[in-house]
Amino acid sequence: MFEKLMNIDRRIIFVLVAVVVIIPTLIPIRLPTRVAEPTQKLYDYIDELPPGSTIIMAFDYGPSSLAEPEPMAKAVLQHCFNKDVRVIGITLYANMPTLADKLMQKIATENGAVYGEDYTFLGYRPGALQVILGMGTNIAGVFETDYHGTAIAEIPMMENITNYDQIDLLLDLAAGSSTEAWIIYANTRYNLKIAAGVTGVIIAQMYPYLQTNQLVGFMPGYLGATEYEKLLNAPGDGTIGLNTASFVHLLIIGLVALGNIAFFIQRRREE
């Protein structure tokens, strides 16, 4: 019996995963969350920015991993627009401009923000490191026009922005190693304040930078998005996603425990 349990058909596991993903998505449950320090720090930093400040939001993820960073982007954009903080969107990912542009437009419309005055989207340029370094000397030298083809000089909110000296924060929404590149090249060389919102797999990499204040704060995966939504008192996609993730986590923990129980009983019998 334990031999069978240890070699359970993987299709049974696939069905179980599908069930624990589908049910909490269809029947949302609000689970209590406490806000951890990294997210609180980011929220406080943005909340204390005076109206008229400018942040850059780098959409450094692709369609494959948007489930986690997108709720973070929505929450922070909402926060910025409500605080009259201006947002410049960019991406280092070639397959991201369309999604990022649409997302910024959607959240701006919901919050009454005006393109060119409260936010702008500059799009994508190849060569991540060169883009990061180049923007430090002259943003218009890297992005001559925005995503829609308007010259930078003709965008009202870009009037007094030349380089990172006029930027109060860069928030990197990342599914890869881009946050480390922003820290190494933009923070170390140009003293640009960096924050991040990262997918679950790279959370652990962010802690050394948080401890040295090279990161002002960061949102760790779905949990970070949920925490930010809680601070805004506006539950959204992050909260829904975290609830679903909760049950998948429980299933995997249960499966690992079951697998180990079967393994130990089997081994004892063999001895």
């Binding site: 240890m6 494959s64 060569g127 060169q130 030298g141 975290l242 998948v248 986590h249 180990n260």
Partner: protein, 216 residues
């Protein structure tokens, strides 16, 4: 000449760019800005090279009829459709956006979503406490997983309510990330950084030449 010129250029630009990091003089910073601009111009050529390599690889697969060579035809079909529609009409054209939103986005998301199923299956089969190190890894992973989701604290507070610590799952997770994880990550960062410095010096001085091709 084929090797000497790239080696000389690498040496020259490597040394000049290092020196610009130590000099705030306007001439030095001017050189730095100029080289960054050159880099921005050079970068798109990498994209051309990538497309050429992709075409070459898949052409070879089709010519040699290697296993699953038919998928290479799909690569060319996808590329041809996106290039023929995308280049003349631009990325904001409704047809290009339709293809992007209804083909690329769902396919990308599907590929990534499949991971959840395979991870669950792999965790069940492979995550066994066979040795002391494996047990340590297993326990740590389970605690971090529990602390990553709110249901972990709910379970902790109801099952381990006799412990003098509320919301223990998220607190223990935070301690693991703040202390042992941070210490080991910092060690890795220092090691990698030293490796990058030594490799950069080797490239600048022409000791490491594998980037030129030819294997030496």
């Amino acid at each position: 000449m084929k090797r000497q010129v790239p080696l000389a250029l690498c040496f020259l630009f490597g040394i000049v760019m290092i020196l610009t990091q130590f000099s705030p003089h306007s001439y030095s910073q001017g050189v730095y800005r100029e080289v960054i601009n050159w880099n921005l111009i050079i970068n798109p050529f990498a994209l051309i090279l990538a497309v050429a390599t992709l075409i070459q690889t898949h052409m070879t697969r089709i010519q040699r009829r290697t296993e699953h060579w038919q998928y290479s035809l799909v690569v060319f079909l996808g590329m041809a459709v996106m290039v023929l529609i995308g280049i003349p009409l631009g990325p904001q054209n409704s047809y290009v956006e339709w293809l992007y939103n209804n083909l690329q986005v769902p396919m990308d998301a599907t590929m990534f979503s499949l991971l959840a199923f395979f991870i669950a299956s792999a965790a069940y089969r492979a995550f066994r406490a066979r040795t002391f190190e494996a047990t340590l890894l297993l326990i740590t992973a389970l605690i971090v997983m529990m602390g990553n989701v709110p249901v972990g604290d709910l379970i902790w507070n109801s099952v381990l309510s006799w412990l003098p610590m509320e919301d223990g799952a998220s607190k223990v997770r935070q301690w693991i990330l703040d202390i042992p994880n941070l210490a080991s990550r910092r060690g890795i960062i220092l090691g990698v950084s030293l490796g990058v410095i030594s490799q950069s010096i080797r490239i600048i001085l022409g000791i490491e030449r594998s980037y030129l091709g030819g294997g030496d």
